[in-house]
C-alpha cells in the first residue's frame, strides 16, 4: 500500500475560517478534491506539514449568473457538478464538452474547478516513484540541481497539464483570489508563470474562490486534446480556442491558447490573423502553421516533441475549422 506521508489536516467551514488558517500556517498547502495533490504526495514529490481542505467551504460551491451576463463558477464545484449544471449547459456548451475530456469520471466527481486550474505542472522526470527519481538522479523540481530535460539550463520545463485553462483563457475568464489581506480579480491568463516550479502567480495564502466567465454572445469555442489513450491521459497537447463572428460571418475576435507545450498555457497572438476575415480552410491552415512555428514542446511528455509540434498545426486547424463551420 502506498500511504500518504503524515500531515496536519484542517477543515474550515467558511471562507473566513479558511483565509485565517492560511494566514496562521504559512507552509500549509491547499487541497480540495486531492486528485492531483495526493498522488504527488504519495510519490513524495511534495510533503507539506499541513493541509487546509476547502471541501467544506460553502462559499466555493455556487454557480451564479451576474447582472452583466457573466457567469460566476465556484472554484470548489467538482467538474461533474459544473458539467451537469443547467446554467452552464445553457450558456457555456464548450465547457460542458471539454469537461469529459478531463481525467476519468470518478476523478471528475472528486476534482474541482479550482484544483484543475491550479494543477501542478508535469514532466516525465518528476511524476515518478521516489526510487525511479533517485535512480535517474533527481531534478530541479525535486531535490536536485539539474533539469533532466534540458541539463544545460537553470529552469524547470515541466508543462502546464490542465485541460480547462486553454479553453477558459480563450473564453476570457477572470479569477478571484481571496486572502486575509484582501481580494483581487485578475485575468486567468495572469495566474500562470512560465516556470515549472513556481508556476502560479498566487501567494501561498490566497484562495482561488471563483472563475468569472464574461458574457459570450456569438462566441464559438472549443477544446481539442492530444493523448495516447482516449479514455484517460493528461494532455500531450491541448488547444483551446474562442472565435467571435459578426452577422456577416466575419471573424471579430479570435483567441487560441495552447496547453501542455510549456510551463504555462500559451496564448498565441498569431490567431489575430483570423480577425477581420471570413474564415476559410486555407486561411486557417496558414494561421495554424504560424502558431505551430512558435510552439516549442520539449521531450518531457508522451509522444516525441517533434510529433507534438506537428500536431499543434493539425489540432489547431482541426479545431478552428470546426468552429468556423
Amino acid at each position: 500500500m502506498i500511504r500518504l506521508p503524515p500531515f496536519r489536516f484542517f477543515t474550515p467551514g467558511t471562507l473566513t475560517e479558511a483565509t485565517r488558517l492560511f494566514a496562521e500556517h504559512e507552509r500549509a498547502v491547499v487541497v480540495s478534491g486531492g486528485t492531483d495533490l495526493y498522488p504527488n504526495m504519495k510519490r513524495l514529490q511534495v510533503s507539506p506539514p499541513s493541509l487546509i481542505s476547502l471541501r467544506g467551504v460553502r462559499e466555493l460551491k455556487t454557480i451564479q449568473a451576474g447582472a452583466d451576463g457573466s457567469i460566476h463558477l465556484g472554484a470548489g464545484m467538482t467538474l461533474t457538478q459544473i458539467e451537469r449544471h443547467a446554467l452552464v449547459r445553457e450558456r457555456v456548451p464548450s465547457l460542458v464538452e471539454a469537461i469529459p475530456l478531463v481525467s476519468t469520471l470518478p476523478l471528475r466527481n472528486m476534482g474541482t474547478l479550482g484544483g484543475n486550474l491550479c494543477l501542478d505542472t508535469r514532466c516525465h522526470f518528476i511524476n515518478q516513484t521516489p526510487f525511479w527519481r533517485q535512480a535517474v538522479g533527481s531534478c530541479l523540481k525535486d531535490v536536485g540541481d539539474v533539469c533532466r530535460v534540458a541539463p544545460g539550463g537553470s529552469r524547470c520545463w515541466a508543462i502546464a497539464s490542465a485541460d480547462l485553462p486553454p479553453l477558459l483563457i480563450a473564453l476570457g475568464a477572470r479569477i478571484r483570489l481571496v486572502s486575509e489581506r484582501g481580494e483581487r480579480e485578475i485575468p486567468l491568463s495572469e495566474l500562470y508563470r512560465d516556470d515549472g516550479i513556481h508556476y502560479l502567480n498566487k501567494m501561498q495564502d490566497e484562495i482561488l474562490t471563483r472563475v468569472i466567465l464574461p458574457r459570450n454572445e456569438n462566441v464559438r469555442a472549443g477544446y481539442l486534446k492530444l493523448r495516447r489513450r482516449g479514455a484517460f491521459d493528461f494532455p500531450s497537447l491541448g488547444v483551446g480556442a474562442a472565435l467571435q463572428f459578426n452577422a456577416d460571418g466575419v471573424c471579430e475576435s479570435a483567441r487560441v491558447v495552447l496547453g501542455a507545450v510549456t510551463s504555462k498555457p500559451l496564448e498565441m497572438p498569431q490567431a489575430q490573423g483570423l480577425v477581420g476575415e471570413k474564415l476559410s480552410a486555407p486561411l486557417i491552415a496558414g494561421v495554424a502553421e504560424a502558431i505551430a512555428l512558435q510552439a516549442r514542446p520539449l521531450q518531457l511528455a508522451d509522444y516525441t516533441y517533434a510529433f507534438r509540434k506537428q500536431m499543434v498545426a493539425v489540432y489547431t486547424s482541426k479545431l478552428l475549422n470546426r468552429l468556423a463551420d
Binding site: 502506498i2 500511504r3 500518504l4 503524515p6 496536519r8 489536516f9 504519495k42 469520471l105 470518478p106 484517460f232
Partner: protein
C-alpha cells in the same frame, strides 16, 4: 481535527455505521481494507490511475485511494460488499459471471459499481455508452468485450423483468 494523532472517524458503509480511530491522513482505501476488513475494494495503482479502488459516495463513483476517511464522513458509502442483498446477486453480477467478464478479478468490484451506476441512470445503454461509463476502470486482462457484453445482458434482463412485472400488474 488538526493534529497528526489519531482522530475518531465515523463512516456509513453499506448502510452500517462504523467508528474507527485513524490518523487524519489515512485514506478511505486503507480504512476499508485494513480496519473494516472490507477487502472487496482493491488497491491497484493507489495513484488515481486505475480505479480499482472505486467506491460509491452518495451514489457517485469516487476513488478511495485519494479520499481521506475523514472527508468521507457524513456520506453514504457503497462498496462491492453492499451490492448483493441477502446473498442474492444483482442481475449485473449474475450476467458478469455468465459472460466470463471477470478474469483475474482485480478490476471487477469497481467495474461492477461503475456499470451499476450507469444502469441505475440508463436502463438501455448502447455499447458506446457502456464503454464511456467504464472508461476510467482499467482491466489489465483487457477483457473489455466480455465486460460490455455482461452489462448489455444485465440491462436486457433488467428491462425484461420490469416489463414482466408491468404485464402482470395490468
Amino acid at each position: 481535527m488538526s493534529e497528526t494523532e489519531n482522530v475518531v472517524v465515523t463512516l456509513n458503509v453499506n448502510g452500517e455505521t462504523h467508528t474507527v480511530l485513524a490518523p487524519p491522513y489515512e485514506t478511505l482505501l486503507e480504512t476499508l481494507r485494513e480496519r473494516l476488513d472490507l477487502t472487496g475494494t482493491k488497491h491497484g495503482c493507489e495513484l488515481g490511475e486505475c480505479s480499482a479502488c472505486m467506491v460509491l459516495m452518495d451514489g457517485e463513483p469516487v476513488l478511495s485511494c485519494l479520499t481521506l476517511s475523514l472527508e468521507a464522513q457524513g456520506h453514504a458509502l457503497t462498496t462491492i460488499e453492499g451490492v448483493a442483498k441477502n446473498g442474492v446477486l444483482t442481475p449485473l453480477q449474475q450476467a458478469y459471471i455468465e459472460s466470463g467478464a471477470s478474469q483475474c478479478g482485480y478490476c471487477t468490484p469497481a467495474m461492477v459499481l461503475s456499470a451499476q451506476t450507469l444502469l441505475d441512470k440508463n436502463p438501455s445503454p448502447t455499447r458506446q455508452e457502456i464503454r464511456d461509463a467504464i472508461a476510467g476502470n482499467l482491466c489489465r486482462c483487457t477483457g473489455y468485450v466480455q465486460i460490455v457484453d455482461a452489462v448489455e445482458l444485465a440491462a436486457k434482463r433488467m428491462r425484461e423483468s420490469v416489463e414482466d412485472r408491468v404485464r402482470r400488474e395490468t
